[in-house]
């Protein structure tokens, strides 16, 4: 029962470092692939995943099955198509994909093979962040194991379908997580984002149709195929489907990561799973899904972890890993840390991002140093609009503005205290 309620983490056990192929097979591993590849047409697999209601777990929440169905399939059946796995987990405060990669690598491989079959790709790349050395070792080992059992390579499970999976380890830049920048990185170039359209689904890696999926997204796929759409749609509590890894970090009693149904209330994650705040600290706010999401407040604790519910509360579910702001941490300094990160990681390709983010950092530093003026707050608000959606090449700068704009709204008195000189309370931080 427990296994069925937690499909993504059922093989991740405290008594073993990671699940081997035998461990993975013992709980139904590669049965989803067997069904997909021997009983279903590629189009059917796309439809299953669409009907299951799986939405991308990388942050954007796009329907995975719909994405697959948009790949040109019929025109030229011999056209090269690529599947690329975005394993470039680098969103500050996010630590979910590393667990899946290190502890149950075959789950990801099975998801990749099914996805590649669904779009008829014969080469798949895993774009892994360079710092994830342990994940790279486990994946390399798992690739060999899968190949030796006929799950990978030529004529997979006697179906006539061929697939090669290539592990590419990156050399570190946050922008590589942006899917078109990732494609440039994979082509050995600077990871600047590309203009869209054309979208990668039509013209991606080396100009070929390319599907890019997040690690956690693909880890859902084997279970949908193995246990069925109806089962998958029974897992969640709210509007979205399936389970998800949710996490909490910061000054909570028990920081960690838990697989829970989509639609789990944020209160339950913070108060029950994370054990509430550490003694002596109070909850001041939180970023629901990584550095590039808007702050939420204690009054939002009863919002549930669903894409649309979080959007309605003015933020984004993002990666679903909560970053907790306590009452003794200065929100202005926290925002400075976030903006320094974004300014450093900007690829420098478009002007609003390249110039606007360092300007944001300068203004915040001046304010914290006691050299700010009230007009600076208007300038910061102006930047949140100038760097917002529609003005930049990709989502990096708009994402960077999310915590800033919400901090200006919710924690304005903290900014003002620095400017008026009444910041005695915060100086201790």
């Amino acid at each position: 029962m427990e296994q069925m309620a937690k499909p993504l983490t059922k093989n991740i056990r405290p008594d073993r470092a990671f699940a081997t192929l035998a461990d993975y097979e013992s709980t139904g591993g590669y049965e989803g692939l067997r069904k997909a590849i021997t009983q279903l047409q590629p189009k059917d697999v796309q439809q299953w995943v669409k009907d299951a209601g799986l939405r991308g777990r990388g942050g954007a929440g796009f329907s995975t099955g719909l994405k697959w169905s948009l790949v040109p399939m019929d025109a030229e059946s011999f056209q090269t198509r690529y599947l690329v796995v975005n394993a470039d987990e680098m969103e500050p405060g996010t630590f979910k994909d590393r667990l899946l990669l290190e502890r149950d690598p075959h789950q990801l491989l099975e998801g990749i093979i099914i996805a590649a079959y669904a779009i008829q790709a014969h080469v798949a790349y895993i774009f892994l962040r360079g710092e994830y050395h342990l994940a790279a070792l486990r994946l390399e080992n798992a690739l060999l194991e899968a190949g030796s059992k006929g799950y990978l390579g030529k004529n997979i499970l006697d179906s006539g379908f061929n697939l090669e999976i290539i592990l590419h380890t990156s050399a570190g830049r946050y922008i590589c997580g942006e899917e078109t920048a990732l494609l440039n990185a994979l082509e050995g170039k600077r990871a600047n984002p590309r203009a869209k359209p054309p979208f990668p689904l039509v013209s991606g890696l080396w100009g070929k149709p390319t599907v890019i999926n997040n690690v956690e997204t693909l880890c859902n796929v084997p279970h949908i195929l193995h246990y069925g759409i109806e089962w998958y749609r029974s897992l969640a509590l709210g509007a979205d489907q399936g389970t998800k890894l949710f996490g909490a970090s910061g000054r909570v009693k028990n920081p960690g990561l838990w697989e829970l149904p989509m639609g789990t209330p944020i209160r339950e994650i913070i108060e029950e799973y994370a054990g509430g705040m550490r003694d002596g600290y109070k909850l001041r706010g939180f970023l629901p899904g990584g550095a590039s999401t808007d702050f939420m407040l204690p009054e939002h604790l009863d919002v549930v972890m669903d894409f649309d519910a979080i959007a309605k509360a003015g933020s984004r579910m993002g990666t679903g890993t909560l970053i907790i702001l306590d009452d003794l941490t200065c929100p202005v300094q926290m925002v400075l840390n976030l903006e320094e990160f974004f300014a450093q990681e900007s690829c420098g390709w478009c002007t609003p991002c390249r110039d606007g983010l360092p300007w944001t950092v300068t203004l915040l530093k001046d304010i914290i140093a006691g050299q700010g003026r009230m007009e600076d707050l208007d300038a910061l608000s102006g930047l949140t609009r100038m760097l917002g959606p529609g003005n930049t090449f990709c989502a990096l700068a708009p994402g960077a503005m999310e915590p800033l704009q919400s901090a200006l709204k919710y924690f304005r008195e903290d900014f003002e205290r620095y400017i008026t000189g009444n910041n005695a309370v915060m100086e201790s931080v």
Binding site: P92, G172, W206, N337
Partner: protein
Amino acid sequence: MNIHTEKPDFEGLSPAEIQEINAEFSHYEDKTAVSIEALKIVQKHRGWVSDECLVAVAGLLDISTAQLEGVATFYNLIYRQPVGKTVIHYCNSVTCWMLGAEQVRERLCRHLNVELGEMSADGEYTILPIVCLGACDHAPVVMVGNELRQDISDDAVNEILRR
């Protein structure tokens, strides 16, 4: 492919490096795509990427040195200056910042008497910042060489540097 090993342009690279880089070609559509792997291979052998090596790798990949330099300087984990035998990356992203990343940095740098990016006098260590290492539930964290170390306390810093 092996024809390359005989060209004098690549003399800056060892046969082992050239062999490893050539082995990567089959994984990609063209040679340019091997840029990052190639730089990482050189770095694995030498610790960093010198100007001479950069020119040699560009020659091996049939791309301009400028293009490869653009790539080399773009990525955080390619070093264009010598670094210590072990690079210690300390995470300075939000959760680690909140839970003591600055203290970790200070302790590491003071212990080794170095600034960020400098090599320690004995050539053993270089300290660099790194973005979120994906272990926020065990903040603060550092990466010592290729190894992730979590829940870093003062004692842990001492223990890391004593090895």
